[in-house]
Structures are given as structure tokens and as C-alpha cells.
Amino acid sequence: MSNINLSVKIGKLELKNPVLLASGTVGYGNEISQFTDLSKIGGIVTKSISLMPRKGNPPQRVVETTGGMLNAIGLANVGVEDFINNKIPFLKEIDSTVICNIAASSIEEYVECIRLLEDQEIIKAYEINVSCPNVKEGGIEFGHNLSALGSITNKVRSVTQKTVIIKLSPNVSRISDFAKVAKEEGADAVSAINTLVGTAFDIWTRKPKIKNITGGLSGPAIKPVALAKVLEISRNVNIPIIGIGGIMTWQDAIEFIIAGATAIEIGTVNFINPSAGTQIIQGISDYCTKQSISNINEVTASYQL
């Protein structure tokens, strides 16, 4: 592993390897640290933080579907103040790179969250959630509107020098248009994809299986869609991409990197195998050895179409 360079750079953000734990699948790090050495992971992306605490959606919030799961958590989180006071101390203890995911229902709220978090040196980058499918206000509505996404990116960029990553919705006709606007307004990178809107019914009661009616589909079922979106961005926009969507194994991770991703995030797999992150890093390293690759960046967008 020692002679292979797995480090990647996204804006000012330097990662020791390209494997990140996705927002909403690692909480604020403390639970998953019992299974995996977070200092070995490229970085962790926190559960979305909003200005005020959010209670989240009523049950039932999750249901398994074929090869995936639907969730409608509703951005349940402790709010920015409690995050700073009670969650950041743990994040400081572990030697991991922290990316703070932010959700908001107005442009001003995104800006205010960043203003409050900006002094926290542990936070190396922000991932801006404009694509949560499970809240009525904000979230996905911003992610489906080119001018709203542009305004948010622009305002966020103007209040921080830290790396800004815009997390894109796949529920649009051309995701690369959104990546292009994000780049033009100053984002350092995009992460793609957030979950796909889906639903499931109980045929006996004829009611949706989750209370919110629709939820976000994640897991291996969405991997081909996510890969196609990453490839579309890679072929049309010159911006670093963090690939997300159904990555379960190192082979999946390599596929995303080939399709254009500089780094990847793993999500649903953390629920099933909370030590998947370190296993995927080892697999990527072994792949590089077998392929006589000395630097993982050589693999990014190395597709042979």
C-alpha cells in the first residue's frame, strides 16, 4: 500500500484516500467509530445540519426494496448549535477529515449556518444539500432549479474560503447543466448523486409503505443510474466529482472513479457493514497494485468509450 498514492485533492480539501462516508449514513461519527477506524477513512460527511434542530418525519421512515431501500428521514438533526457544542468535540478526537453537510430552507439559512460553523477548524469543507427529496420546503426544490442552485452556490462561495461541494439531485433531466452552474458560481466540486425519488405500496392496505408517501431510493439498485450521471458530468463539465450511489464494494468504487469520480462516498453499505470503508480502501489499493498504477488520480475519468 505504501508505494501507491491514494491521496486526492478537491479544491483545497486534501484527502488521504478517495473513500468518504456519505451524509446521513454515519451520523456524527461516534456510533460507526466502534466498527471502523475513522482515521483510516478519507473523510466523513456529517448528517445534514440545519440552523435549527429538526425532529424529522414520523414513522415509518425506511423500507427495503429489491436491491435497495427507501428512506424518508426528513433531515432529523440536532441543529447547528448542538452540533458545535456536543458533536464537534468527538470529531476533533478522531483523526479524520470532516466535511459538514448543510441543509436549509432558504439561501439566508445556508449562509447563516456557514457563518456559525466557519471558525470550526475541524470542518475542512461543506457539502451543500440542495437535493434532499424528503422535506417540503427547500431541499430538492433548490436542486431542481438552475437559477436557485446558482444563487445558493454564489452566496455560499462568497462567505467561505473552505472547499464547497454541491450535492446534486439525480431527479432532473440533465444533471450536467446543474454541475455547470455550480462550477460557474464558484463551487469546487459536485457530489452525485443524492437518492432517487421512489415509493412502495402495501398491496393489502393499499397504503404507501413509508409515511411520507415517497422516499429516497439508495443502495445497489441505483448504481447504474448514478454511474451514468457521473459519466455525464465528467464528459460535459470540468469539475471534480464525488461519486455516490449504491457503492457496496471496491469494484463499485473503481467503476465510479473510471467514470469520472475523483473521490467516492459510501452510504447504504454502512448500515449493513459498518467497516466497509476500510475494506474498500484496501481493495482500491490492491487493484492499483495489480494494474501497476502508482497514483489513484490516473484512474479518474480513464474510461475507454
Partner: protein, 253 residues
């Protein structure tokens, strides 16, 4: 909590579609407390994708046993396991029952599969020389699970075995046995039963702990998929991490 690669020791049918699986899982066996659960991966592939949560039924030395009902794909696969098969188990999870408090009589109320966590609790109560009454019910005779229970009173909705009615009606009939004693109720079963038990205990001023269940993905607090409304305004608990056992006064059922 940890992930252990357990080995199936035995699988036996208890009644109808109800099975008991016993696995060799020394680390989890050494850590587990009554009322906790494990999240089990029933295959080593992606179908089904998620783990399945099961109450720990009992611990015997290095072995952990789980009672389950074959109602879906995951549990059907579990029922097909053979001695020596590997099983990937994450646990022990959740808080478990509090059975160290000051009481003389434990009244266990179980509906259907709700019997699952009680054999382990009963063993712990016996060691502490507590008196135990078990009130066990189901829709019909086939739903009744008495495995590992003690001093049993039965009820069925259709009257096919024991008292003709539900467990709460039976508890009301048995009330003379509880009055004047320091009583602790422990309940597990369908939500409607737990709700009725909560009301019964509130009216009669009995302490009551209920073991709840919920759909969940991870089982240890990161997916936030298993909320249960708290009595405290505008708040949810997580069944996996704050529960699955709650004081019935603290939650809205």
C-alpha cells in the same frame, strides 16, 4: 456491540411458522443483556440487502438463540439454515430491560411473537429470586408461544386455548394476584396490545417496561430510520438506540 461470524448450532420448529435458531456466538453471548437485540444478515449476498433485527431469546454459555416467525423473505431464508452454516450477526444492540429495580413480582405480558425476549429475562429474574407471572396471548392457539416461560396464564382471541379474550382482559381478571405487591410489568407484542397495556398500567399505577419494534436499517443509531414518538413534546426516540425497551410512560404508542 460488534460483528461476529456466528455458526448455526441448531434450528427447531416451535409451533406453526415459529422457529428457534441457536448460534455459536461467544462474544455476543458474553456481552448480551435481556431485552437487547441483534441485527442479522441472513445471506452473504445483496438479496435481501439489509440485516434483520431479532430479539435475543436467550443465552446458554457461548450460544445465542433467537425466536422468529417466517413471515417474509429474510425469515424464510433463516428458517432454511443448517447446522454449521455461517451467520453474520451485529450485536448486542439497544438498552435491554431494567430488572434490578425494587419489585417482588414480575408480570410478563406477551402477545404472539412478543414472547421472544422473555426466556432470557426470566432466567435473570429467577437468579434474583423474583416471583414471575406470565400472561401469554395470541389470536388463536397457533400464535401462542410458551417457550422458556414460567407460571403461565393463557388467552386467545378465539378461545381456542385458555381465557377467551386478550391478554389485557386476562391481566384485569388476575389483578388480585398483583395488588399489595411491588409489581413490575414487562410487555412485548403488537402495538395495539402495548398501547392497551400502557393504559392498564397507568390506570392501576403499575410500573411497566415495554419492548417495542420498528422497521430499521442499521440497528445502532446512524440511519435514524426507527423513530418512536416521545411523551416529551416534539421529540422522537430511536427504537434501536434509545430502546427497544422503554418505560411505557415515556412513549406514545
Amino acid at each position: 456491540m460488534l460483528i461476529e461470524n456466528a455458526k448455526v448450532v441448531s434450528l427447531k420448529k416451535i409451533t406453526g411458522k415459529i422457529f428457534l435458531i441457536k448460534v455459536l456466538s461467544p462474544q455476543i453471548a458474553s456481552l448480551a443483556k435481556p431485552g437487547q437485540f441483534c441485527n442479522i444478515k441472513v445471506t452473504d449476498n445483496l438479496l435481501p440487502l439489509l440485516r434483520r433485527p431479532f430479539s435475543i431469546c436467550n443465552i446458554n454459555g457461548d450460544s445465542v438463540s433467537f425466536l422468529f416467525d417466517t413471515h417474509g423473505e429474510g425469515t424464510k431464508l433463516l428458517a432454511g439454515k443448517k447446522k454449521g452454516d455461517a451467520l453474520d450477526i451485529l450485536g448486542p444492540l439497544g438498552n435491554g430491560f431494567n430488572y434490578e429495580s425494587d419489585f417482588d413480582l414480575a408480570v410478563i405480558v406477551a402477545g404472539g411473537m412478543g414472547s421472544a425476549p422473555f426466556p432470557f429475562l426470566i432466567d435473570a429474574l429467577k437468579k434474583r429470586r423474583k416471583n414471575i407471572i406470565c400472561i401469554i396471548g395470541g389470536r388463536n392457539e397457533k400464535d401462542i408461544i410458551t417457550y422458556g416461560m414460567k407460571n403461565i396464564f393463557l388467552s386467545t382471541d378465539d378461545g381456542s386455548n385458555g381465557y377467551n379474550g386478550n391478554v389485557i382482559q386476562l391481566a384485569a381478571k388476575l389483578k388480585d394476584k398483583f395488588v399489595g405487591k411491588k409489581v413490575q410489568f414487562f410487555g412485548c407484542g403488537p402495538n395495539a396490545m402495548l398501547k392497551a397495556l400502557k393504559e392498564f398500567c397507568a390506570v392501576n399505577n403499575f410500573n411497566c417496561q415495554v419492548s417495542t419494534e420498528s422497521a430499521m436499517a442499521c440497528g445502532f443509531g446512524i440511519c435514524q430510520g426507527c423513530p418512536i414518538p416521545a411523551v416529551e413534546e416534539d421529540k422522537y426516540f430511536l427504537v434501536c438506540k434509545d430502546g427497544p425497551v422503554f418505560n411505557s410512560r415515556d412513549i406514545i404508542l
